[in-house]
């Protein structure tokens, strides 16, 4: 099965967790960080990342600020108050999902 499909639904909690831990981040930094943390296993494409960032910003989960970096403008994202609540919910849902998968993949023998 395509790895991308498996990771697709996990992107939002991963993103929220990263922003929670790092305070504020910009798009390219997020892609690098995910690649680094997963030793290259998960490679978020900009095609998946930016639409998600924009949707979360429009939903009030993230807030953005722009900064002048040398010769260009950079957009930083951070969690809003609502975003912090969403992060707790999304990460907990992902953990439950992972546990359920574990149960399915490695069922405990019943006596």
């Amino acid at each position: 099965m395509n790895k991308k499909v498996l990771y697709k639904g996990c992107l939002e909690p991963i993103l929220l967790k990263l922003l929670h831990e790092n305070g504020r981040m910009y798009g390219y930094e997020i892609t690098r960080k995910v690649k680094e943390l997963t030793a290259g296993e998960l490679n978020i494409t900009e095609g998946a990342l930016y639409p998600l960032l924009h949707r979360l910003e429009a939903d009030g989960v993230l807030e953005a600020e722009m900064e002048n970096i040398g010769n260009r403008v950079r957009k930083y994202y951070s969690l809003t108050q609502n975003g912090r609540k969403e992060k707790v919910k999304a990460v907990s849902e992902l953990e439950n999902f992972a546990q359920t998968l574990q149960l399915l993949l490695n069922p405990k023998p019943s006596f």
Binding site: Y26, G27, Y28, E46, G47, Y50, P51, H54, R55, E57, A58, E65, M66, N68, I69, G70, N71, R72, V73, R74, K75
Partner: protein
């Protein structure tokens, strides 16, 4: 670090392939620029032009356009515009509508088609005047701000297209004078036209606020 000219080159390229949406282009320019900087640092022998050509291949135009489309949809929320549809504006639109349909009771049915043509012409001219005066007053920074939405364009074009279709059909059939537009149809079309003009005003108020907010928060974006 890339020079101002190299950043401009990335930006110009993105604009040339149709990435006009202001917020998205800034982000994409930064993304590509950072990737290029890393690549140039890693491979000292590669020059900017060669690295940029490789980056272009890495970001297919089709994907970028698709992302821009999603970004535009996500950032635009028509519900936010409704706050500009205040009591005064609703009363104004009712007054304009009443004044516009009053002649239907005073003129003969045969002249209704002419009246409709005058209204269609007026609504198109008025809409264009509003759009152009907005663009002239709120000068855009180096990068374009999109001030139209699908909703605005649809509400502006719908009465125009329906009227042109109806009147055009009457003209082709040679029944322009014999078969005037039914009064109820006329009233509905005029209602849509009046609504479209006030909806455009509302949309421009919303865009004006976005523009002024952006100018206040990020003045450096507006420096030429």
């Amino acid at each position: 670090m890339l020079t101002k000219g190299q950043i401009q080159q990335i930006d110009t390229y993105l604009e040339s392939i149709g990435i006009e949406y202001f917020d998205f282009r800034h982000e994409l320019t930064d993304h590509i620029a950072e990737e290029l900087e890393r690549n140039l640092q890693l491979r000292k022998s590669v020059d900017f032009d060669a690295a940029f050509e490789a980056a272009k291949a890495h970001y297919p135009t089709k994907d970028l356009i698709e992302q821009q489309f999603i970004a535009k949809l996500d950032a635009y929320n028509p519900l936010k515009e409704w706050k500009y549809f205040n009591g005064k504006r609703i009363l104004n639109s009712i007054a304009v509508y009443t004044a516009a349909i009053l002649p239907t009771f005073l003129i003969s049915g045969k002249n209704l088609n002419f009246l409709l043509i005058i209204y269609v012409f007026f609504s198109v001219v008025e809409s264009l005047r509003m759009i152009f005066s907005f663009r002239a007053k709120y000068k855009l920074p180096g990068k374009k701000l999109i001030i139209y939405s699908r909703e605005t364009l649809l509400s502006l074009l719908a009465p125009f297209l329906i009227s042109v279709f109806y009147l055009g059909k009457s003209m082709i059939n040679g029944k322009f004078f014999d078969k005037p537009v039914p009064i109820i149809g006329f009233m509905i079309l005029v209602f849509i036209m009046v609504f479209a003009i006030f909806a455009l005003q509302t949309h421009l108020d919303y865009e004006k606020e976005r523009y002024l907010n952006a100018k206040r928060r990020y003045p450096f974006l507006f420096e030429s």
